[in-house]
Symmetry: C2
Subunit: 252 residues, 2 copies
Amino acid sequence: MPARCGDTSADVVERLRGLGFDEADARTLAGHFLDAERRGSLGHGLSRVEWLERGAIALDPRAKPKRVVAEPAYERWDANGAVGYLVLAAAIDAQLADPPERARLVVLANAFPTGALGYWVRRLADGGLAAALTANSPARLAHPDGGPKLTGTNPLAIAIPSSDGRHIVADASMSRVPHGDVIRGAAEPEDVVPFGGDRAYKAFALAVGLELLVRALAGTERGAVLFVARPEADPVPAFRALANGVRLPGDR
Amino acid sequence: MPARCGDTSADVVERLRGLGFDEADARTLAGHFLDAERRGSLGHGLSRVEWLERGAIALDPRAKPKRVVAEPAYERWDANGAVGYLVLAAAIDAQLADPPERARLVVLANAFPTGALGYWVRRLADGGLAAALTANSPARLAHPDGGPKLTGTNPLAIAIPSSDGRHIVADASMSRVPHGDVIRGAAEPEDVVPFGGDRAYKAFALAVGLELLVRALAGTERGAVLFVARPEADPVPAFRALANGVRLPGDR
């Protein structure tokens, strides 16, 4: 069933329950999809419920992610068959429940798909933590000069908490158009190229760097890397004052 | 004295000694500037020796950076009046001498200028470590729609070691042209804008995120943030094989 603009949270939860997710997981997933809709990030929104419904990825709705290493400055999670969104949700909950003393690397092996990364790091900023998060995805970007498709669109999201609650949440993929726009029929696969025009080699370089960072640290083809830290300072309010009303990353 | 294309390492070291740097620091600085020249990153190369010679920044050539916190997964350095290049050099040496068991956040307060970030993380890759490094700089980028200049050009460098020695080193600033090209007279200040054309909001978002990440973690206006980790896997050789001769980030 295609997403409808009047969908309520209860409708979405019901559809996800229909896929076999339990109530808590269905609510977690609905929270992500509906936030993406509200922010206009439609390729990460309700189109993905339909995408799951039509069996686009192998899905075990009962699978639960596992934390396989838990050290003060390092955690390793494995999707354990769970859809990536739920791996991120569980790992974020764990960081909020037990924040690092200074900083922590959190590696999420086999987490896919992970959705709108800004959504996850915003939750950490709500808890007073700074965070950077990236995730890879199937190879869709080639070098701007041509050749085989080599990397995912590989977003980087960075969240900086603000004492006034108006956090900065930067979240940019390295693709000119999101793959999610292809899924929802709003773009063609050939539009999925590194952004930047005559500087597209920069976005390509960042996509390759993030791709291999994930693979090197996760030790798997697919995954996510989250870096969480306690801030030493609260730079956002003064930065907003300087910006003098300019829209900043993550503002709605 | 302007840089000359026949400059040898000995010439450059001598000029830096003339500025008051000791022999070891002069060699460290020359190593960075000459590598930037060889890679065609001229705005980080010998033009910066002339820039130092003409007193573009307040310089105490005898100052030495200080490591003020050293924990297994966290280090904090302060420039202590030293030029940023030397802060990076000292912090990189320290990571190679005592690598993290898993991962380490290294914060470099007041480190400026920091040069070609790819140069520093490549040294970590030579030592088998994966790394991501960013640094901020004076506000030169405004929002693509206008308004005040808000962030530095804020490069992000990512290095992934390869067992065959052919590491991947992505290093991209968020500016269409490097500020260094303005310093050396090859570009105009108005060319320093977020890269990306009609997607410049993406580079602007990343620049703002990196700017505030540095300020939040360093607790100072200016600095660098380095994240070092031991890889779990060696993904580069297979990635190069897939690339089939396409030039990858950091290749000369």
